[in-house]
Amino acid sequence: MSDEQKALVQIRDLHFSRGSKNIFRGLTVDIPRGKVTTILGPSGTGKTTLLKMIGGQLPASKGTIHVDGLEVGKLKRRELYELRKRLGMLFQSGALLTDLSVFENIAFPLREHTRLPESLISHLVLMRLHAVGLRGARDLSPSELSGGMARRAALARALVFDPMMIMYDEPFTGQDPISMGILLELIKTVNGALGLTSLMVSHDLNEALSISDYAVIISEGVVVEAGSPEQLRTSDSEWVQQFLQGKPDGPVPFQAAAPDYETELLGGVRS
């Protein structure tokens, strides 16, 4: 199998800026098919932006993104929506619709896109809810769920349409150890059992790497390092080591860019 066939998402020379800030400056990365891939990087490097660009919510200023052979930037609205039906996305907040119950939230994509009979919708929804352990919470409203439960419900919703890929935006942020364990197990199991491709952006290094087959570290708009979690851990790059070990100072300086300290203190006048 060639690289082209292996990679479900191919990003080439991607440029994107927001205002005067360049978020991506020639980002090139492949997301392999059937694997769990994690994108790591300091805050503000545009990890969530990248997920939105893969889903066609933000246009690239230069470069291309191919998802399953389709160039996202060139798709017409209808084609883009067809592609999105094959992508699931788990937002950091869960993004459940607050005016619907958990059951109706999971049923929502089915009701919007299909004319399935109610009995079948009910079966499909209950199966997904059972898979994430929330069959008993079907009648609750999203505001009654804990953060971890909301994310599991959102995962059930992302799965209900049998997508080819699921994108997870910071799935572990703010989770207690039990919820974190459940999510880790679910992401890993779901990816294997359903033959999905999973793409995750995360700050929680150890947890994310423990279930990842492949990881990419981005910083300053380009890929700094990519490889298996083992390869990253043994990387020679000081930058990578600083990031993985969480050292406060190193190639990424502790101090934000500023004029010389001595000059500023002794100079007296602030320009």
Binding site: Y81, R84, M89, F108, E112, R157, F161
Partner: protein, 257 residues
């Protein structure tokens, strides 16, 4: 001096850019309207939350405005011996001006602000992004049903405001001040034209409904997705809608009457 000119230019450029975005937004919303035919339940639900839920405030305000008009009108007309014409004064003031305008202002405060806050919070909690990623177009699912419901409910609310106002006028002038009941109703009937008075009042209501709902939905969709952003968008909705209603009312009155 150059700085001042720059700022002045930037101010107008920003206004023009935002008007352009609002027009594009409106065009997309109107294009999404036909999709509502397939799912009328979406519009019915919004009619309930924008129209029915605003009804109580409209009816109570209408009753009081009608009574105040009757009281003021009676006190003036009695000097000319024309107190029997109180009904005419109340009805014409209501159907031509106060019905659509006050109902519009109340609608902007009650339903418009709620619409902006709801859409703004949907944006802040990523629900709108979530819909897009589920291949559901927010224009068809969220904006268009609210827009249509707003355009349909305000003329009806304005009509109900005028009707209950006329009744309030009756209660005060006939039951309290002793104006003759048959004179109150018959003079009102003979001097209020269905097409040029009631009809034009309904046109005003429809125009205000269109503008208020457009402003409310656009402000919600454009807001900065933070609590501060949602709160200032809600304020903008009420301020812009109220100004738009008053300015358009002058324009429409000048054209229609």
């Amino acid at each position: 001096m150059i700085d001042l000119v720059q700022r002045f230019g930037l101010f107008w450029l920003n206004i023009l850019a935002s008007l352009g975005r609002a027009s594009m937004f409106l065009a997309q919303m109107v294009t999404a309207l036909p999709s509502l035919l397939k799912r009328p339940s979406l519009t019915v639900r919004e009619l309930y939350s924008t129209g029915v839920k605003t009804l109580s405030i409209i009816l109570v305000s209408g009753l009081f405005v009608g009574m105040v008009l009757a009281l003021q009108g009676y006190n003036i007309l009695i000097d000319f011996g024309q107190e029997n014409r109180t009904g005419t004064l109340v009805a014409l003031t209501l159907v031509r001006e106060l019905g659509p305008v006050v109902a519009g202002l109340l609608f902007a405060g009650r339903a418009g602000s709620a619409m902006t806050a709801e859409i703004g919070l949907m944006k802040a909690t990523e629900q709108l992004s979530g819909l897009e990623m589920m291949a559901v177009d927010p224009f068809k699912r969220v904006y268009a049903p609210r827009f249509l419901a707003g355009c349909l409910s305000l003329p009806m609310l304005a009509a109900m405001f005028s009707a209950i106002g006329a009744f309030g006028g009756y209660l005060l002038s006939v039951e309290v001040l002793g104006v003759d009941a048959s004179a109150y109703w018959s003079l009102m009937q003979s001097s209020v034209s269905f097409t040029s008075d009631v009809g034009n009042g309904l046109v005003k209501g429809a125009v205000f409904g269109f503008v208020v709902t457009w402003i409310a939905i656009f402000q919600g969709a454009e807001c900065i997705p933070t609590s501060e952003g949602v709160s200032s968008a809600t304020t903008r909705t009420v301020v812009y809608s109220s100004l738009a209603i008053l300015a358009l009312d002058f324009l429409l009155t000048a054209i229609m009457f």
